[in-house]
């Protein structure tokens, strides 16, 4: 039996077409694209899958934990429909617009309140700000060991065996519990919730905590707690003028393309 906490973040859909991505540079803000609903950050779903595989094997309890504002229940409840036993939301305007530090701090305080945990799993980075620090931050704040960007996590004799991704393969690391692991997409793909579990998740309500519930100083969370200031957000126009090679048949187009690349000394 092992108790797992999985940290998940609601983000804009990273797979939305690049042309739908817009920012308001005067306010340094992203304009949420109309009609494209938010999702659970990609790597956090891998963390959920890692948790579920451990639970399937050795049993235990999975608590999903999410911090944010305007958390759409349909989105964050995906953790429940995937198989989490409990969903805890840190939802309050005071939590909004934090940096890695203020977010990891609030999550750590919530984890302390949950109390009974052996393993904390996170995605390697959130797909919006790509900061890649919250997992390590939680480990440091709680004084726990950590392994980042894992492709597999197993529990063997009360310890975690973690395959850590390296450029040409992986390293096997043994970590004592409790500890923190962050997951990459090299891990087995997240499962699709089935209809029965989606229906069950609809009936289950998340637990919502405010800053006072986890005993945090409002000056240390959200935008007030930031150590890193965003001074500018912009889009760099990197568009080229593409020379399109067309012909009556694809075969002919291929021939023309090679001739053109040769003429321009590309090959």
């Amino acid at each position: 039996m092992i108790n797992i906490i999985v940290c998940v973040k609601q983000t804009t859909d990273p797979e939305a077409p690049p042309c739908s991505f817009k920012i308001d540079s005067s306010a340094n803000r992203v304009i949420f694209p109309a009609g494209i609903p938010p999702v659970i950050s990609t790597f956090d779903e891998y963390a959920m899958e890692a948790a579920l595989r451990i639970k399937d094997k050795v049993g235990g309890k999975i608590t999903a934990l999410s911090l944010g504002v305007n958390l759409l229940r349909d989105v964050v409840k995906k953790t429940l429909s995937m198989g989490a036993d409990e969903l805890v939301l840190l939802e309050d305007p005071a939590f909004a617009d934090g940096d890695s530090w203020s977010t990891a701090y609030a999550l750590s305080m919530a984890i302390k309140k949950i109390g009974d945990y052996d393993l904390i799993l996170c995605g390697r980075q959130a797909v919006d700000w790509d900061s890649g620090q919250v997992g390590s931050g939680i480990a440091e704040i709680l004084g726990l060991p950590s392994v980042t960007v894992a492709r597999k996590v197993e529990i063997v004799e009360g310890k975690a065996r973690v395959e850590r991704v390296i450029p040409d393969g992986y390293e096997l690391i043994e970590m004592s519990l409790p500890g923190v692991v962050t997951l990459g997409n090299e891990h087995a793909a997240p499962r699709y919730p089935n209809v029965r579990s989606i229906m069950a998740a609809k009936r289950k309500e998340p637990i919502v905590w405010k800053p006072a519930d986890i005993g945090v100083d409002p000056a240390m969370i959200g935008s007030r707690g930031r150590r890193v200031k965003l001074t500018r957000l912009f889009q760099s126009a990197r568009y080229t003028k593409c020379e399109m090679v067309s012909a009556d048949t694809p075969e002919e187009a291929a021939r023309k393309l090679v001739a053109k690349l040769r003429a321009n000394k590309v090959i």
């Binding site: 440091e140 960007v149 096997l172 150590r227 020379e243």
Partner: protein
């Protein structure tokens, strides 16, 4: 209050040498040092890094700290962290530079949280704000859809640098400097993580990161068989094969071939992208490519917005002829 001064670049080294990214760190570090009127130090950690301790001097460092010992044989977060934190507490640098690698991206955040400061990962540009003398750190966000410029209000300022985003300095082997050993003692019994083994896949042929020509395949390739054709083309052009994420996730090719934000960063002279839609995350990996050639059946695909040459068509029809024609040219 402690006064922070100087720049420290942690050079990971690879195969007993400074890596290209290490030299990029040193080049960037010396520029920042000049601008701030401070000096650049390098840090080496490992079992026998003392042998190359003078190398960073040739790239602009004026001091090299060496942390050596059998403890540092394999990378273990908590052990390396102690080494790095000790050097920082003894030298109080204002800026700490690391590479955005499996090690740098793992160390930087823990280090920042331990030192009660903040890190910014995967930076592609660093300048000094004239008013505050602090760094303005540019990093891609939202998968490369936007860039953020950030400033850290606490010291030391810790950053990781994206590979190939900064130009390496010219080597000057006549440069002199100081080499300082720092001893770090750790009781191995106190560590809670243990290295068990490393499993690597040997890369046959040219490495992706070093290839001058790269042929990348995307989801539209449809399976492992299609990648054989891409490999043949890569071989003829003396290049390497890469992939977007779906072929890796689907196990058509090894995970090691993923190019992009969370894969390899490449900077070839030419990249031939076949059946790749051109997501921002994927393109983050080859922003350094000089020429991009795209083959895609969808004329609206984003890849054509960044490509220099394009053919709209089914790759199954275009590629065999393309391959045959290139073969003729090369032979």
């Amino acid at each position: 209050m402690e006064r922070y001064q100087g720049i420290l670049a942690y050079c990971e080294t690879a195969n007993g040498k400074l890596s290209p990214l290490d030299t990029e760190l040193l080049g960037t570090g010396s520029q920042l040092a000049t601008e701030l009127g401070q000096s650049l130090s390098a840090l080496l950690i490992g079992t026998d890094v003392g042998a190359i301790a003078s190398e960073p001097l040739a790239y602009g460092a004026s001091k090299v700290y060496v942390v050596e010992g059998p403890l540092f044989k394999d990378y273990i977060t908590e052990i390396y962290l102690v080494g790095l934190a000790k050097v920082i507490s003894e030298t109080s640098p204002e800026i700490v530079l690391l590479g955005q690698t499996q090690i740098g991206r793992d160390l930087a955040p823990r280090l920042a949280f331990r030192l009660k400061t903040a890190a910014t990962l995967d930076c592609t540009a660093l300048t000094i704000d004239p008013a505050t003398k602090r760094m303005l750190m540019t990093k891609p966000v939202f998968g490369g859809n936007a860039m953020a410029i950030q400033m850290c209000e606490v010291s030391p300022q810790i950053v990781t640098l994206r590979s190939k985003a900064f130009s390496p300095p010219v080597k000057d082997s006549s440069r002199q400097g100081e080499i300082i050993k720092i001893s770090v003692a750790i009781d191995p019994a106190s560590t809670r993580t243990k290295f068990l083994e490393r499993k690597t896949e040997a890369v046959s042929g040219i490495k992706l990161e070093e290839a001058k020509v790269i042929v990348t395949g995307g989801r539209g390739i449809g399976g492992p068989e299609g990648f054989k054709q891409l490999e043949e083309l890569a071989q003829i052009l003396k290049g390497a094969v890469g992939a977007s994420r779906p072929p890796c996730d689907n196990k058509w090719v090894s995970d090691n071939l993923q190019v992009g934000l969370t894969g390899k960063i490449v900077s070839p002279k030419m990249c031939i992208a076949v059946a790749v839609s051109g997501s921002s995350q994927h393109l983050s990996g080859y922003s350094g490519a000089k020429v991009i050639v795209a083959i895609n059946k969808d004329a609206e695909a984003n890849i054509f917005k960044v490509a220099h040459y394009g053919v709209v068509g089914d790759w199954k029809k275009v590629l065999p002829v393309f391959l045959a024609e290139v073969k003729k040219l090369v032979s």
